[in-house]
Assembly symmetry: C2
Homo-oligomer: 766 residues x 2
Amino acid sequence: MKNILFTFFLFVSGISVGQDSTTTKNPVTNISEFNSAVEKAGPGDVITLANGVWKDAELIFKGNGTKDQPITLNVESKGKVTLAGKSSLKLAGEFLIVDGLYFKNGYTPSNSVIEYRLDDENIANNSTVQNCVIENFTQPSRDTKDHWVELWGRNNALKNNYIAGKSNTGPTVRVFLKGNENINTHHQITHNYFGERPRKGGPHGETMQIGSSETSMTPAYVNVSENLFYRCNGEVEIISSKSNFNSFKNNVFFESEGSLVLRHGNYATIDGNIFIGNDNSEFIGGIRVINTGHWITNNYFYKLKGTEFRAPLAVMNGIPKSPLNRYNQVTDVVVAYNSFIDNKSPWHFSVGSNVDKSEVLPASEIRSARPERILVANNLIYSESEQKLPVVAYDTVDGVKFKNNILNSPNESEVQDKGMITQDFEIKQLSEYLYAPAENLNDVYDGFDFETIEKDLFGNDRTEDNSIGAVTLPVSNNAKLVNKKLYGPDWFNPEIEKKKAEVVQVSTSEELIKALQNAKSGGIIELKSGTYKLENSIVIDKRISLRSKNKAKLQFSESNSTPAFQMNPGGSLKIENIDLSGNKNRDAFGTLNENMSSAYNLWVDNSEIKDFKNLLEVSQRSFADTISITNSSVKDLQAGINLAEETDDKGEYNAEFVYITNSEFENIQNEVLDYHRGGYDESTIGGNLVFTGNTIKNSGTSEATEILLKTRGIVNVEMANNNFIDNPVKFIAILWGAKGQEPVNNTIENSGEIKVEENLKQKLMY
Amino acid sequence: MKNILFTFFLFVSGISVGQDSTTTKNPVTNISEFNSAVEKAGPGDVITLANGVWKDAELIFKGNGTKDQPITLNVESKGKVTLAGKSSLKLAGEFLIVDGLYFKNGYTPSNSVIEYRLDDENIANNSTVQNCVIENFTQPSRDTKDHWVELWGRNNALKNNYIAGKSNTGPTVRVFLKGNENINTHHQITHNYFGERPRKGGPHGETMQIGSSETSMTPAYVNVSENLFYRCNGEVEIISSKSNFNSFKNNVFFESEGSLVLRHGNYATIDGNIFIGNDNSEFIGGIRVINTGHWITNNYFYKLKGTEFRAPLAVMNGIPKSPLNRYNQVTDVVVAYNSFIDNKSPWHFSVGSNVDKSEVLPASEIRSARPERILVANNLIYSESEQKLPVVAYDTVDGVKFKNNILNSPNESEVQDKGMITQDFEIKQLSEYLYAPAENLNDVYDGFDFETIEKDLFGNDRTEDNSIGAVTLPVSNNAKLVNKKLYGPDWFNPEIEKKKAEVVQVSTSEELIKALQNAKSGGIIELKSGTYKLENSIVIDKRISLRSKNKAKLQFSESNSTPAFQMNPGGSLKIENIDLSGNKNRDAFGTLNENMSSAYNLWVDNSEIKDFKNLLEVSQRSFADTISITNSSVKDLQAGINLAEETDDKGEYNAEFVYITNSEFENIQNEVLDYHRGGYDESTIGGNLVFTGNTIKNSGTSEATEILLKTRGIVNVEMANNNFIDNPVKFIAILWGAKGQEPVNNTIENSGEIKVEENLKQKLMY
């Protein structure tokens, strides 16, 4: 897990580059001109927004074009027209085109930024939103729900857009299927660039949701093709397909911590998609399968380390006679001609089997219905280093037929089947991430309807020369798996410019304050040795690093009770080699009390922190991606780290990763850590705590709950190699056995015990 | 209810009439010749069964024809080849035709009589079964499950067949959708004559079931068109549609006690069907709606007296987040251009609402989700006599949009909406059952996608001159709603010949025994006055009436302990004006101990019955359609009527109708009646007890349960105008309040009380 630590610094910050050549006569310059133009618009008309910032613009684009003569809404110069503040766009009518809008520096005042509907009676059909950007247009509070794009109606398109930076609750793109006007949609969601969606720290952080359990019986026919999902880390589902007959083709899922999930609905086609992981993250998944009749073909899974819900291929157990909003049994699914290259363990069956939880869960939550009538055929599993577990099974695998799957490692998994064949074959790297056998492996199984799998991952014909796996040879020389330029608007480049960090040296409090104000995001402030007395909070609303070669001392005065460092949305602070001291009445670190619209980060390394109230005190709805305290000394505080303000039992929590390593805590009167996640929820699989190599002394003396380290509901907890000395508590910690938590090699003297409870009674959210 | 009493005498008894002209060379004469012919058969070949009775013939018809050159299995002369005993047919392969087979005098030794599949690997596609008859081919025991036709595969047809008389458990026709080979079926079930399916007395008596809850997510595309359902009374569902995209068009449901039920699955098309009821039965229903997206158009509902589950149009409440096998909410349903003529109350909304049952049912059984986004438009409601309740609502009706529906009576229902318009219009009878306004009512509502409703009930164009209701004028002169000749094989006539009943007079025991043996079904035996001493049981395996003008006396001797009258399958006995006496050790009436393959009937009128053990003692799995004791005197018995042998709690019961009227019961030591139905089940809505005008004296003296009349689980109970005198029991009866049961005008002297319990705690079957 440690390797993830610093990746957060790779922010995406949009920079508009392409200067656009759109020119039209008489652009409209304000809302009333816009409205009047819309009022008059007929087939073939073009309405152009004048350059500039359109603040608080709630655009309603309603009209009826024709197929040959649509009505177009565009901008004077792409990139020079932004919609800011409380802005939104609603479309209603027929044959409308929206081109080149740029939403930034604001958020929607309604449910949606772009909505293909004005109200139930006014829906858009046959309309397109293209070449638009929605960037960081996130609500002030992460629990305010919205969608950035709501598709309604039929035959609409969302294409070549760039959409990134949603931190608040609600899927980024949501397709609605409620009402006969909104089914059989044939919507086309293509060529979009879905940029980073930060970890949300709770459910409802999907990048796309198509339907809902209530409308999961509808024929949706949504086509999601040739999109890039780039680090879409919001939650465990990148795409949540909740309707029937959707297709997902040729999309690239790049280092996205989640899966394409067939959550509700049936008969999805998942063909030719590319899932790219890396060596670091265990959270990057592939495809998770629930329900009936899906065809999963020609997909390419590379270096995915996820398991269980996040496995490259996760086929779940269902709940017998499942309630509408839970887990139907998986039946009649075909998994054919996929390539699994260098994954940790490609196939997980009966994921979510929880028969052993019947003590803490009602019968209607017990997933005991195993997959049935599943065909897994003609797949390729290759691992550079031997990988002996092609199958991980959480229940008996008796409903899966394996046919002609080729592996290069011996199969030592529990599931032994002659349809999994270990075989020596040569593999070649054809381009970045792309591996294929040096020669076609022709012995393919001919299953029912397999003649419909006519093409491979690259669209090559399979009917002539066929091969096991996603790729048939020959592959064209310029075959690339990932080419970011193919996605999003051509006028917009989401790549960050990598600048060398600027280092400013300071030696007085005044210089420090000034340097902090002037620093650009990414700036480093180096403090000369000495004592810096400070009164007001230091506001961290950008990426800042404070360091010192000689242990500078920051002393925070008594005259102010705000935190020494106040973390603001998007702020990242790294403190190295600096000693902080307070006055007992203020917290060392804190957040805003509200409007923590996006995540913050905090790293403390090799520093001393003492005489504060709390080490970290956060507000409800605030969210840290990473909190790290390492090689440091923390002492004489009232309490340690409080990340327990999400008390609604809705699966939310206050930090994704918490690392406390190789540090000493002494004389912390109450708990050293309170890290909490309430509610039974599976949409997120956090938080994550690493608590290793620390020494805790004389702490917990006033803690009423008699628990020193509280981690209730946190899924991943590592607790190893710590020394607990003279802490008068009953429990050092209570770990969650069912999640594999166990204390390792801790030394306990005159302190409480580390208890492991197998199952946790949680409040059901469903 | 009384009017139903004697309709059961209208048996269907098949008589083959048409002499067929099929001639082929070399018909096969036995199974081994058949098998060898099948083995050799290729495209274009015809295999012909030789005339005669093929006993215990398990035919496997496997082969691959082509579209232009199918392989045909036919018979030498239609009607002269019967499959009898333990016989069946299985088809496997492509382009097969089965023509003219006649199954009678037997039952299948497997799951099915005709199955479009040999096993999972050998399925029939593109194959047709036509002009066949399956008549009374019912299992010996009604709890042995089978289907008479099982459709598997794709593109199969079942057409012009006559199928009737199934008394055992299991739908008559069942379409299977398990496995990808069996979806998107496009099966055609057309022009069949589904003759009588007798009341089953428990669930699983559907005439057709398409899919199951487990496969209810599949696209089935089964087309059920232009069939006749003639008195299909098996249970509350005539057709149970449990899959998606099925269509039901131009079928006639004639006096069938049940409904076309959209039980699971979505997006059914129900267009142009005709539902004919009568003045007598309250069990004849129309369409019951569950789930999403159905279009119900151009249907004609005539004289239906059913309510709730059996209403002409029953739109149910759903269970929120329903389990897969229970009740989804109804949403997005369109009900347009239907005619409701002379129905009791046409539209029932929120049927099954049971919020008040939360005490006795688990939350997962509570139907509280009201219909949503329902459009009811352009329908015609006409009643000759004023009918002020077009809508019966079991919950708030807030999800239904009413538009341009025309009524001829004032609307005094709770639901008031300007989309229900009372209007004077002239109506004309165009042919039997067929009524339409004298002039088109042109003011139609134009709903979403209504342009797709291009035709009316008769296929007349709606795009030019349109009208409210199922019919647009003009209607052709020969328009008939019901013409039985259009259905089933042309060589077979299921109509009974109505013969005048033969009356035989007897004056001695010997003559009586002989007359009973010789009598044809329907025969009447008239006993002269006197005493007839009898030893053996009188076996009733046909329709027999025993009557006397002067109170003949039948005395059954001590030397035999079998029942005086032993009811056999299909037996019907009517006793009039005769006194029966026994010896205390035998029952007056009884059934076989097993193999009661079909229902029996018993009527006793104006007779005296005394000195028997029980009045009626039945076996498990036996089933009476009607038991009637009227104007009679019953005394000095150990117990009365026992209809309580179905103890499995699966919703089965031993008699559909029990009438005990204007009779005297005296000195019945134990219970006078034990009539039982166990298990929570909604597929059947029986049994039915009318207990009126009786006097019960000095009975129940030895009854351990202290209940005189036991009716546990029986749905319809009428208990009125009785006198209970000196019966030392605690309860005369315990009635079920939730089903509307209440005692009326009973006189109770020195007897127990009649208790009403609102809700009955029952064993859940699901």
